[in-house]
Every structure is written in C-alpha cells, then in structure tokens.
Assembly symmetry: C2
Homo-oligomer: 231 residues x 2
DNA sequence: CGATAATTTGATTTTTCTCAAGACGCGTGG
DNA sequence: CCACGCGTCTTGAGAAAAATCAAATTATCG
C-alpha cells in the first residue's frame, strides 16, 4: 500500500563487519551492535539466516507484500526485543529499520553451536519462537475479525505495554506503517485516532505521541478475547 | 461470527486413555491413535501442553475468538500434518475436529526426553515450529491486504496442494469455517465461489467439492507475493 | 419422509477505501 | 530568523466492497 523510498542494501557490509567469531559463545546477547538508518533493510526475505538480532534502540518492522505494492507489516520490534529467529534456513519476511536503530547481533552459527551443548539456550530459543507464533496468531484475530476502532485500540495498548513508558506512547513508526500493520489505510488510522481524541480516550500532542487517557475503555474494545473456540 | 453447537469436552477421558508411557521413545510418530467426533474439542486454549498430534484422517482447526462470538480460525490441519507443537507450556489456541478425525498422539514428556538426546528430533521440531510461523505470517498478508476473491483463491489453492488429490478438492470444512479462516462472512464465501463458478475458474458439483478448472488464473489472484518490503 | 441445519440468493446498509485538497512540520539554505 | 519545499498527516466527499438482514433452497440425518 504505502510506497517508501528505496533504501540501499548494506547487508554485505554488515556481514563483513560481523564475522561469526565476534559473538561470544555462552553469551546469547553479544556486545557487538550495528547502526541502521531509517528504512534501511536489515535482511531480505529468502536470504539465508545469518544472525539473530536484539533491538538496542529504535524500532524494526518485518514485512511481506504483494507485487502490486500492497504491504503487510507482520510485527514491530521495540528496544529489548529479539527477532530474526523466526525462520528455518532462510528468512520468510524482510526486516527494516523503522527509525535510526541500533541492533545487537548474534551469529547463527554461534547460536547453533551453543544449542548443541546448552539446553538452557535451546529452551530460550524455543520460548522466543513460540512467543513469536502466539503474537502472530493474536494478530490474525485482529486482522480477520476486528473493526478499525478495535484494531487501533489493540495496537495502542500493545505498544504502550511494550514500551513501558506509562500512558504516554511515542510512536516510532508513521501512519503508513501502522496502516500496513493493521490492514487499514493511513486515512482510516488518522480518522480513528481523531475519533479517539474526540471521545477523550487519548490525547495527541503531536502525530507521533499518544497519551492514553482511558486505558480501560480502550482495552474493552480490544481485550474481550476468549481462547475458547465458541462463545 | 459463526456460532456452532457446543461440543462436550472429553479431554479428561483422552488423557486417561493416553498416558505418557504409551508413545514409543525414538519414534516421533507413535502408533496410538484416538478418534474425535465432528466439532469435538481436542484441547482448549490455556490448557497445559500434553501432546503433539498428527492428523491420520479427517481435519482439525485451531481457533481463537472474541467474547461476542466472533471467531478466527488460525489454521486447518489435514491428514499427515502435525499440530499442537506451537506453544510454550500452555496452548495459545483451541483445537477442534472439523469432521470425524483420527489423531496420532505423542506425549510431550516423551518428546522432551527425546529432544535431550536426539539432535535430529530437535531439528524436526524446530522445522515444524518455523513452518507453522511462516504459514501464519502468510495468513496475515491474506487477512490484512487481500480482497474476498484473492482470499478464496489462495484458500482453494492451498487446500488443493495440501490434500494432493489433483484438481478435485473435497472440503472437510463448512462455509462457516472457511469464512472464519478468511475473515469474511459465509455469504461472501458463497457468493465468491459462485462467481468463480460462473467465470469457469472452478466447478462445484456439490457444496463440499471443488474442481479447480483454471489453476493458473486462481494462482495469479493469489500468488503475486513478493518477499521484498517495497515493490 | 420429515425436521433441522447448511447453503444460496437477494435487497439494503455499513464500513472502509479511494480520490482529492489542504494543513502541518521539519530541515535546508538564503 | 524566516521562506521554501518536501514529505507526512489530516480532512472531506463520493465510491466500492463486504456485512447485515431476510428469505428461499438444498442437504443431512434420524
């Protein structure tokens, strides 16, 4: 849907600077960090999996799309969160930096070596993978069965919880990314936020900052989830 | 969305009949199979993970939902496919038999015991988990960005490929399940199938049987995927 | 063979998208 | 410091897609 400027790939350079040996075995969160510019590609779909990544600062989106330009953002990753694990031998999605971003890299080979001897590390990786799946499954319910208001409410609550900055959320991503994450258009995102503002559910000091005024009401739109198949 | 009759839970009975010891270690596809009736619950969300399951015959759906009755089918599982692995300690979704179904069970404890000594088994489980994630991510694109025709086309092609019965697909699930899988209503499913029939893309001998007449055209609606973030 | 559930079909309404302007913000350079 | 330009966001009006409501038809099962 949203077309953005083409970022130059520096994956090759990244690899050159981050050989497998520089991540310390036994430490699953190595010290090496790399900077990425806004909209810069971190990896492309179908590329072999070479690293897993932890967001140090900034934000990352994983993306798939159709050839006609329609885009789907599968997930956002905020500081402290790990991504890139959600693949077999090759990446299934692309990953891009949403803003200026610092990423901590761990090479896959080190990780695999660790996994052969450290059951704790295996359990951690398994946990990461299953959480990623659970999150994606929740996202299905949002995209398949929620209306615009419910989608935006669930998004705001999710981001607020994960950025643990209280009720004030600083959105790293623009309206286009939110739209492509929620399966809506930028206009609908804008209108829905404006409607929430009028209903005193949120305040919008500026377009990248949201203050949640009535979390309970926002949650009641979203969180009426049930795990049962039939209500 | 679709409300169906409440099935009685026989999870307790199932457990009693399938103690951890009856699955053979070293064999990841044990001989024990259990029958499930149409719409019968296999496991509930938030229940501890006790088994993984392979579909011997029939079909299974995994489901989440909202309290007001809206339902989202996350996935269907056809004969030969494995499910129930996509969880940490507890299930995130419910699983239900779509039709009369035979399931082969492997107890989780046996699986974990195997995993501590058999790296091949670990790799297999990892592969299952990452494929489940990749499938779910593809589903996001369907629900977030495709129109009704594209959704139905992608569904038909997917089921046809997985049931490898040539161009003739026998749908184990009703319109309601398809609707809840594709984020549409039963009426839209029905109308879209009828439109496909008129356009000679499919034949509908009866409502549970679809013959794909123009797979290429169906695929061109669906498969124009690109893994790149921007077209 | 009849009752009940599932599917199809039609008419109408609602939601969201699309298209089109306009406003705002932000960085750059004069 | 302010004007300019560009990208992003907002706002509005109309169009399109799918949902909803309602009824008829067909399948399924005892």
């Amino acid at each position: 849907m949203t077309i953005q400027p083409q970022p130059q790939s520096i994956v090759a350079a990244q690899r050159a600077r981050a050989p497998a040996t520089c991540a310390k075995p036994g430490s699953n969160l190595p010290g090496l960090t790399l900077p990425f510019a806004r909209n810069q590609e971190i990896y492309v779909a179908d590329a072999p999996v070479s690293f897993i990544y932890r967001v140090v600062s900034g934000a990352v989106r994983t993306v798939s799309g159709l050839r006609d330009g329609r885009r789907q953002v599968a997930a956002f990753y905020l500081p402290g969160e790990v991504f890139g694990l959600e693949a077999g031998g090759t990446h299934h999605l692309s990953a891009e930096a949403v803003t200026e971003t610092q990423l901590a890299l761990t090479s896959r080979s080190v990780l695999e070596w660790t996994a052969t001897r450290d059951h704790e590390a295996v359990a951690q990786m398994w946990s990461l993978a299953t959480h990623a799946l659970a999150r994606t499954q929740d996202h299905l319910l949002v995209l398949g069965r929620m209306n615009a208001g419910e989608r935006v409410a669930s998004f705001l609550i999710d981001i607020a919880e994960r950025s643990n900055s209280g009720d004030v959320v600083n959105l790293p991503m623009g309206r286009g990314d939110i739209a492509d994450y929620l399966g809506l258009t930028i206009e609908t995102i804008s209108r829905t936020l404006h409607e929430f503002e009028e209903r005193q559910l949120i305040a919008l000091p500026n377009c990248r900052m949201v203050k949640l005024l009535d979390v309970a009401k926002l949650q009641s739109m979203d969180a009426e989830r049930t795990r049962r198949g039939r209500g």
